[in-house]
């Protein structure tokens, strides 16, 4: 008996020592001073660690960034985002388009194409390919086609001249031509058509574009391998191979970056990025993005239909506390719906700030009797959503407004959003094309109730009128004026709580050069212009 007790004692000691040992090793390995082997990636290869696999690579089908990251460098489009002084912008210039003109009424757009570009099988990119692409986009009829709501027809004028006809003016049109969905597809895809699917099955897993790269291998849930398009006429890119490794766990991605098995690691949590900054081999870069986080107040429901009550909520939100606490300072408070960096943003508009006295006063004026309970709808899709809710819970609580946290599966949450079955809900938004239309028209037009965009179910005929006019004319200065008037009304009526726009952060090995952040192309790398020292 005695011996066994002794043995137990020895074992307990061993256990404790062992656990401490593993904990210490763990800590040591995490420390920035951990010896990292020299980079294992050859200099003509770029390896990017991403969090998710792509779903489908057909530009006419996919609406996810994970897929665009692969397809964008494999295709060309008529337009591309400009680089101004080495920085990205929301303005566009010709990519395949050499020049273009638009009719007075804004309905007919004629493009002259650059010559000499070829698809990766050597077929020249011409007007027929452009027409084919847009006809196919319409026939497939999935998400990407939604960016061309007024497109009526596309005609081949000559080999290198193509004409688009719209049935109503749509000023963002020229910007939408830089979308992933507008990627020009090799008409030979029809050789792979099965049962009238427009080659969708084939293009879901292959690329047939004229960009500098082409997809050579997709090992599902493992990696993508891109190699050079042999017919690319431009300067030869430094990277002959670009790999995207799918590593879902952020700690594992970080480890691989530190060990040099990755050149770039995406979507790391902010706290890990802060730690990574201490590593001399790693460069954490930060850019203001157009992706915003905001709270929808369901204006159809009592007491949220009351403007004073909504204003009280906007005053009872701790914007700076949320930015500091949840985003560790890696965000900027929004000023109205249009974020900084998008034209149409007005830096002198009114901005709410935490003012509980003012909030109490507005609450009293609203005539809403407290205590009131409001549900806060969210999902675990974004880790910031829960702490945002908790912050609202604490500040609203001081007004006698109880916030009930309602966490649901994302799919279920979306369904409730669409049906307007919520009080408060949180969401993210990023633009598909570089036009304030993406914020102003989608969020406030009473025709877009629900998931389509107007998730606050906000209705104001004056706002409807202003934003619809702004969406019909092409004069940018005039449009800006109309959007500004609409923003003033909206901010005053507070249908959303405008929280913050995020910074986009990404970690590189120090020797990776030439990356240009394009606010419209978050998660998409200009690999053809990048290099490693």
């Amino acid at each position: 008996m005695r011996t066994s007790r002794k043995a137990v004692a020895v074992l307990v000691v061993l256990l404790v020592v062992g656990l401490l040992g593993t904990a210490c090793t763990g800590k040591k390995a995490e420390a920035p001073s951990a010896p990292a082997k020299p980079a294992g990636v050859p200099p003509d290869t770029l390896v990017i660690g991403v969090a998710e696999d792509a779903d489908n690579l057909d530009p006419a089908v996919t609406v996810t960034n994970n897929s665009w990251a692969i397809t964008y460098p494999c295709y060309q489009r008529l337009m591309r985002y400009k680089v101004v002084n080495g920085q990205g912008s929301t303005e566009v210039e010709g990519d395949l388009a050499e020049s273009w003109e638009v009719s007075q009424d804004g309905l007919v757009w004629t493009f002259k194409l650059k010559q000499g570009f070829k698809f990766d099988d050597g077929t020249p990119v011409d007007a027929r390919a452009v027409k084919f692409t847009f006809d196919r986009l319409r026939k497939v009829g999935k998400g990407p086609f939604d960016a061309f709501p007024t497109l009526e027809s596309v005609e081949v004028v000559s080999d290198y001249v193509v004409r688009f006809k719209l049935n109503a003016p749509f000023p963002p049109f020229i910007y939408t031509l830089a979308n992933n969905g507008a990627s020009i597809v090799n008409p030979k895809v029809m050789e792979h058509e099965q049962g009238g699917d427009q080659g969708q099955a084939y293009l879901a897993e292959h690329t047939m574009g004229s960009g500098p790269y082409r997809l050579v291998e997709w090992a599902k849930d493992q990696y993508f391998k891109l190699e050079l398009n042999p017919h690319w006429p431009g300067p030869k890119p430094k990277f002959t191979t670009v790999m995207f490794k799918i590593i879902k766990d952020p700690s594992a991605r970080r480890l691989q970056l530190e060990r040099g098995d990755l050149d770039i690691a995406e979507e790391l949590p902010i706290d890990q990025l802060e730690e990574l900054k201490k590593n001399p081999d790693i460069d954490v870069r930060e850019f203001p993005s157009l992706s915003v986080v905001y709270v929808y107040l369901n204006c159809k429901r009592k007491p949220l239909d009351n403007v004073k009550f909504r204003q009280a909520l906007s005053y009872a939100t701790d914007y700076q506390g949320i930015i500091k606490g949840v985003m560790l300072g890696k965000a900027v408070q929004m000023r109205g719906p249009v974020p900084q960096g998008m034209w149409g943003h007005a830096p002198d508009l009114f901005q709410y700030s935490l003012d509980l006295e003012k909030a109490k006063q507005l609450l009293a004026e609203s005539g809403v009797k407290t205590p009131v309970t409001l549900g806060y709808l969210y999902a675990d899709r974004d880790p910031t959503w829960e702490p945002i809710g908790l912050s609202l819970q604490s500040t609203f609580g001081q007004l006698g407004i109880k916030v009930e946290m309602q966490k649901l599966a994302y799919a279920t949450m979306r369904d409730k959003l669409d049906r307007g079955d919520f009080d408060l809900a949180v969401g993210n938004w990023s633009p598909d094309f570089a036009d304030p239309y993406m914020y102003m028209n989608y969020w406030f037009d009473s025709e877009f109730f629900g998931l389509a965009g107007n998730r606050a179910f906000y209705q104001n005929s004056r706002v409807d009128d202003l934003i619809r006019r702004a969406a019909r004319i092409t004069d940018q200065a005039e449009r800006e004026k109309l959007y500004r008037q609409a923003q003033e009304i909206i901010i005053q009526e507070a249908p959303y709580i405008f929280l913050f726009q995020r910074n986009y952060m990404v970690a590189f090995r120090k020797n990776v050069k030439g990356y240009v952040f394009q606010p419209m192309l978050v998660n998409i790398f200009n690999t053809a212009d990048m290099s490693k020292e």
Partner: protein
């Protein structure tokens, strides 16, 4: 009951199980609010586009009709098209399942090969130091959170020591062997590619070790408990009294009887592992079923969820059958009575 009879009966049972499983999964996945058509056309698509997509997917039909259609296709071996990946579900399963199976079988192999001897030692030297150590190992295994273990192992063996690769099944810079079975180890051997075999094996070690540790604990404890029970039986004492050497008593008489409950545990564990060791697969970027299913659920991808469920249900029934056959082989009484 003869083997043949048992198998026939189980096949009939399989049909019933499939019916039950499909009805339940189908109704649950269709009752959950959420619209895959909307997911597919994008959140900003117009209502008409959503409606058109619903028609295309057959989601506008009554649920019972959708179910009948599904069953009709299932009988023909067609699991439908995944809404998320737009590929036939059966194709997706063929891609992801072998990775999971390879990992699960390796982990189970390790758990059994180490767990059974550990359990025997523990039982035959009850309350000795060896027993305490093996119990400690198994208690730690049962109570260690897998994600923590995975991260620590990754930090140490990949991050710090750099002995083993940190993610995936094969180095992307090594050309994969032609796919025959989907098991990389086997395929590399078939293709005569020792480099790929070695690389795949190195990739397999860390996730398999982590995964096996939890099950190792269960196996050890199970073997220990049943060994102790068997060892206290009269016939063991008789055998020992008759002068049969202890070693022979333990391995020829006691172990065979003690293994019966262990077989059940192992069988269930394999079933469990096939469902996808989600955490392990996530940490080690192992391209298996686990993450496929989680992504499908998040997307409310009915065909993929259904396909997976049917597949796993069949898997469970078959494993149970194998377990029962193993009982028969181990225990003549079961063979006689059925």
């Amino acid at each position: 009951m003869a083997f043949g009879q048992l198998i026939a009966r189980r096949m009939l049972l399989l049909l019933l199980v499939l019916f039950g499983v499909t009805v339940i999964t189908f109704s649950v996945s269709h009752l959950v609010p959420g619209d895959p058509a909307r997911m597919l056309v994008g959140q900003r698509a117009s209502q008409e586009m959503v409606e058109q997509m619903r028609r295309q997917l057959g989601l506008d039909r009554p649920v019972w009709e959708q179910y009948l259609r599904y069953m009709r296709d299932l009988v023909r071996g067609n699991l439908g098209i995944s809404i998320r990946t737009q590929r036939p579900v059966s194709e997706d399963l063929v891609i992801f399942f072998p990775a999971t199976l390879e990992l699960a079988l390796t982990a189970m192999f390790l758990a059994v090969v180490v767990g059974i001897p550990l359990g025997i030692v523990s039982a035959t030297r009850k309350d000795s130091l060896a027993d305490h150590v093996s119990r400690l190992v198994s208690v730690a295994g049962v109570s260690t959170p897998l994600f923590w273990l995975g991260l620590v192992v990754l930090l140490v063996f990949y991050g710090r020591l750099g002995w083993l690769p940190g993610s995936g099944r094969l180095d992307p810079f090594i050309p994969a062997p032609p796919r025959v079975t989907g098991f990389l180890l086997l395929d590399s051997l078939l293709a005569g590619r020792p480099d790929a075999f070695w690389n795949a094996l190195r990739h397999l070690i860390l996730p398999a070790l982590c995964l096996s540790y939890v099950h190792l604990a269960v196996v050890t404890r199970q073997v220990r408990a049943s060994m102790l029970e068997v060892l206290s039986q009269d016939y063991i004492r008789t055998a020992l009294a008759n002068g049969i050497p202890g070693r022979s008593v333990i391995y020829r008489h006691a172990l065979k009887n003690a293994l019966i409950p262990t077989v059940t545990v192992v069988g269930l564990a394999i079933g469990d592992l096939l469902g996808g060791a989600i955490l392990t697969e996530t940490i080690f970027a192992w391209p298996g079923m686990g993450s496929y299913v989680v992504d499908s659920i998040n997307f409310l991808d009915f065909p993929a969820i259904m396909g997976f469920t049917v597949f796993i249900a069949v898997g469970y029934v078959l494993i149970n059958l194998v377990v029962d056959l193993a009982y028969m082989w181990l225990d003549p009484r079961i063979r006689a009575v059925g």
